[in-house]
Amino acid sequence: MASLDQIFVALKDWLVAFVPVALQPLAGALLSIVAIMAVFPGIFALTTVVERKLLARFQNRPGPNRVGIPLTKIRLAGFGQFAADGIKSLTKEDIVPRNADRIVHFVAPFVLVAPAFLSLSVVPVGRNMAALDFRETGLLFFFAVGAATELSVFMAGWSSRNKYSLLGAMRGIAQMLSYELPLILSSLVVVMMAGTLSLATIAERQSGVQWGVVHSWHVFTPWGFAGFLIFLTAACAESNRTPFDLPEAESELVAGYFTEYSGFKFALFFLGEYLGMFAISGVAITLFLGGWNAPFTFLDWVPSWMWFFGKLVGFILFFIWLRATLPRLRVDQLMDLAWKFMLPMSLVNLVVAGVWHLAASWPHLLRWPLCVAILALPYWLLSRGFQTRFKTRTYRFAEESRPAPATAAAGP
């Protein structure tokens, strides 16, 4: 089983050995690039179909179930759809608005996709399987590269010369900057506790055993659980997924910052968004859900990369589930949630992590309730503030125009 666990590492080593020693680092890097470029867009292709099918099911429709193998009756339950979509977007006309800034308009989709691939490269997808293992700066590299997507969003919105694009870009910038803060603060907790920025090391640190059979994932601690929820919410906002899809709100802004894109550039934006979602899910898995570790020690025989991709699929499905459930937030609600709830909570979480660390020698019965209490009290207070602000809505004009009940019926 150890051989199956390291099969891809062994394969890479075997292939690299054919190359002269001087070129071996370059060949290794190229192989990693090819692997990332093949695996994650593949997952993206399948995700588009799965998302459409699941969303349809959530809305009581069967969803795409026709496209299969051409010229045959084989339908593959609609899983040929992504090929049809890909061919369509490749062959469609590439329209550039006459007044657009052509160069920036052209570059923007690539500026989105390149950081997405780069941020995927630091995620350890299995034991010894991180394409770029920065021992000192892994997580920092991820956030630095991830911040570049904001540039792309604004490039696309600004260069299109379209009010919807610009509004979408403005919203995108505001949202991504606001949510970057809780995102980084919640992951800072893990850095504090693990004492390293290297994502591979953080994943390794969670392979310890607690409570007999359970691996010591960070999510199984008070600060880890709270941090995970904050990270998940902020990740949702960073990847523009549905409760936070204001930058590309179809009902308000056509398609937001990529309104003026068509054909393959549109597909690139789509790809970039999904790759960003995979990357941030991968980091969430690494930071809180034990990376490539199994949940229980008796499941350790399953290869580590299977655990990682299994968790990634779980994340994708959860994001689809969220998309089918939650309506879009309003801009002020979005900002309120980020600055008045998530930021204070992530700051409190830092304190909790400190307390947890200092109380390491305390008995569990004391340490757990203390940390949970420190988290629960501000959570309750902060959400009470939200509840008083968002009362049951009164529809003033609709209520006033409604005829007075009972009195009219009592007449002759």
Partner: protein, 220 residues
């Protein structure tokens, strides 16, 4: 507290998702080309011409009065009256349509032609699959394609067909009664002519052919 509503919503949508695999009510889609919904009796798509008997060319109820052609809002009906006449179901001599075309690509299925027809001859069909590669000729239906039997009408709209039959039976009874009365009057006139004054004959001669050529007037 924040989060409780989200959790409730997630449970609700998950129930909906899983329900589509077990509960038929949660997945009401009928996948059309393979599956079909039974049409209701009130279904109306495009007009067709009713004919009595087996031969559409002979049994068309249409007398080419052209009311539907004039009333049709998008003007999709084109009729050419015949030069000769033939006997209709009441035994009267009537024109018939030499040409009767309906352009289904223009027809808006408003059913006004059916409303105005005094002869129960144009009715709405339930057929709706007319996709064709030829968008001009393929949707221009001539009288041979439009003609469908009374049996077909009875099958698709039994209630309406029964009403049509009642109307036609009443018309026929009226025509027969009138013919009978006319015959009696004629016999009486002939008897009168035979006995005292032969001078009254021109009036009786004018009267005699009338029941045959009497075309019903437009109901206004």
């Amino acid at each position: 507290m924040i989060g409780i509503g989200i959790a409730k919503g997630l449970v609700q949508t998950a129930r909906n998702l899983l329900g589509t695999y077990t509960d038929k009510d949660r997945l009401p889609t009928i996948e059309y080309p393979e599956e079909r919904q039974a049409l209701t009796e009130a279904t109306r798509q495009f007009p067709f011409l009713v004919h009595d008997g087996d031969d559409p060319a002979k049994g068309l109820r249409c007398v080419a009065c052209q009311i539907c052609e004039k009333e049709c809002p998008p003007k999709c009906i084109y009729i050419v009256k015949s030069r000769d006449k033939r006997v209709d179901y009441k035994g009267q001599m009537q024109f018939y349509p030499a040409t009767f075309d309906i352009d289904y690509s223009v027809c808006m299925s408003c059913q006004i032609c059916v409303e105005v027809c005094p002869f129960e001859s144009i009715k709405m069909d339930t057929e709706f699959e007319f996709s064709t590669a030829d968008r001009f000729r393929g949707l221009l239906f001539d009288k041979h394609r439009l003609a469908k039997s009374d049996a077909h009408y009875h099958r698709i709209h039994p209630t309406d067909a029964a009403e049509s039959d009642a109307v036609m039976a009443a018309e026929r009874a009226k025509a027969e009664a009138k013919a009978k009365a006319d015959a009696e009057a004629k016999a009486k006139a002939a008897a009168a002519k035979l006995a005292p004054t032969p001078a009254a004959s021109p009036e009786a001669q004018m009267e005699a052919p009338k029941p045959g050529s009497d075309t019903p007037t437009m109901p206004m």
